[in-house]
């Protein structure tokens, strides 16, 4: 059974003139990292909102089709269940802080407090998140005085602290430097090893190619291409739908084309080294 299932889902925002998403269907299995790709305004965040149940709980309007989490329609989940089932990290780190906590440690604990978790258990989980996200140096700082990148890391910690089986990360590295970006993707790899399901909206295509199992490429609110990352991200048609290909993939596609070869196209640098390192491609 799929952990996340969308069947012919469509939605138009109450003041919208056209559908934000239209006839979207895909399934994500447990432990998969599913990348939602596409240009700005292609419907990626709307899909995330539908999966998290913000539509129609927060954004009114009538979605069509069905969104299911672990075989159960998302509208049947209550707020506490949704928080425990799906962790959601938003695009803008500046609006993600609760605004009512004066240090990072308590900011991370905020969801646990709302869920009524006991203090000792809460402290242990917060400490684990501080270690995981390397937040020791800012643990006592005021969240509202942090930089965008620091806030982003705190926001991710605040999401993961509830240990949800599904994690939605909407452009989690948009404010981060290369090292912190790498750290976030290492966490994504860790989540995957822990059997968690990750929905990832991200533009850094080389990293997406390295860490994703499944790719959904959105264009104008519709699914333009979908399937395993290896298949979708080595297909030149991605470029026709406003998507991008990893640098190394583009290099090998052009090489094949120019030299008239039909060699397998690697998805990442590691993949290329594994395939061609010895031959000296």
């Amino acid at each position: 059974m799929s952990v996340i299932s969308l069947e012919h889902v469509g939605y138009r925002y109450p003041l919208g003139h056209e559908d934000a998403v239209h006839d979207v269907s895909f399934q994500v299995e447990q432990g998969q990292v599913c990348a939602l790709l596409g240009a700005n305004g292609s419907g990626k965040t709307t899909i995330c909102n539908l999966i998290r149940g913000f539509i129609p709980r927060f954004y009114r309007g009538e979605p069509t089709g069905q969104v299911q989490l672990a075989g159960r329609p998302v509208e049947q989940y209550d707020d506490a269940e949704l928080t425990e089932t799906i962790g959601y990290s938003f695009q803008n780190p500046f609006t993600q802080m609760s605004g009512v906590k004066d240090n990072v440690r308590e900011e991370i604990a905020y969801a646990l407090e709302n869920l009524g978790i006991e203090r000792e258990a809460m402290a242990a989980r917060v400490d684990a998140m501080i270690d995981l996200l390397h937040l020791d140096d800012i643990a006592d700082a005021n969240p509202l005085e942090l930089s965008g990148g620091q806030r982003q890391r705190v926001a991710i910690a605040a999401v993961l602290v509830t240990d949800p089986p599904i994690v939605v990360l909407d452009e989690p590295t948009s404010q981060l430097d290369p090292q912190s970006t790498e750290d976030v993707f290492n966490i994504i790899a860790l989540l995957k090893r822990q059997g968690k399901t990750v929905i990832l909206v991200e533009h850094k295509i080389d990293l997406v190619a390295r860490y994703s199992d499944l790719v959904i490429l959105m264009e104008d609110g519709r699914v333009a291409m979908s399937g395993p990352a290896r298949r979708v991200l080595t297909d030149p048609q991605v470029l026709d739908h406003g998507g991008q290909l990893p640098e190394v993939t583009r290099f090998f596609l052009e090489r094949n084309q120019k030299l008239g070869l039909n060699d397998p196209v690697p998805l990442s640098v590691e993949d290329a080294i594994k395939r061609y390192g010895r031959k000296g491609a």
Binding site: F58, D79, T83, N92, Q96, E106, N114, M122
Partner: protein
């Protein structure tokens, strides 16, 4: 903040403040009421906030008290007013009234200002949560307090952006007003725009979960807190008995 005063539970300090306000308002005369200012100043010094308390008191309440005093004594006319010059007259009744009014303002304001100087909003809200106040109420209080510096920062950013486009933002009062008014639009709209995502972020962190909230932060109620609260209650009862039976 450190020390005995800071370690007191917010409700203990609130009990002291409440007692001071009631006693100050309903006790005849003005000596006791004026005497409360040095008492709260001393308590503020004990909490390491003496100078801050004194400055805050002078800059806010001090001015109001002075104006009321002067108006009551020299401007407002009573039957026993003795004319001095133009509209200025001196009245013993006015003096008595002004001492009565200003002393009560001084006692109440000293108590309230002391409370806010020695109690952090975080401690206040924690105590409210422990007293089972609705989560939404405590959230509104804390987020309002937290919002002030954010709004100031945001307005500075907008102001800097305007300055970089050549708009005059400094100079005399009129120049400042002219630059301030156009800033209000972007400021208000950007705050409204952020509200939606902030609400979603809170929702995704179980803000609406129908379970009793717990807290990572801990503030203990000690024996001294119970002693203070009981003493305040007894003093209040004695005061009421004294005022009713006198």
């Amino acid at each position: 903040m450190t020390g005995f005063i800071d370690r007191l539970y917010p409700s203990s300090k609130a009990a002291m403040v409440l007692l001071a306000i009631i006693v100050g308002i309903f006790t005849p005369g003005y000596i006791l009421q004026y005497a409360m200012f040095p008492v709260f100043l001393l308590l503020a010094i004990m909490a390491g906030n003496g100078m801050r308390f004194f400055k805050a008191f002078l800059s806010s309440v001090g001015t109001v008290v002075l104006v009321i005093f002067l108006v009551q004594v020299f401007i407002v006319r009573y039957p026993d007013s003795a004319h001095i010059w133009a509209f200025i007259a001196l009245s013993p009744t006015g003096l008595d009234k002004s001492l009565g009014i200003t002393s009560r303002i001084v006692s109440s304001a000293s108590a309230i200002m002391w409370y806010f100087q020695v109690t952090t909003p975080k401690d206040m809200v924690y105590a409210m949560e422990q007293a089972h106040l609705p989560k939404k109420v405590t959230f509104v209080i804390m987020s309002t307090i937290g919002m002030v510096p954010q709004v100031i920062n945001r307005s500075r950013t907008i102001m800097d952006a305007q300055k970089s486009r050549g708009i005059e933002t400094e100079g005399n009062a009129w120049a400042r007003v002219k630059s301030f008014v156009p800033m209000l639009g972007p400021l208000i709209f950007s705050l409204i725009q952020q509200t939606e995502e902030h609400a979603l972020a809170l929702q995704s962190r179980a803000f609406l979960a129908p379970v009793p909230k717990t807290s990572l932060y801990r503030l203990d109620k000690h024996t001294i807190d119970r002693v203070i609260q009981v003493i305040c209650l007894l003093l209040l009862i004695l005061f009421i008995v004294w005022r009713v039976w006198k």
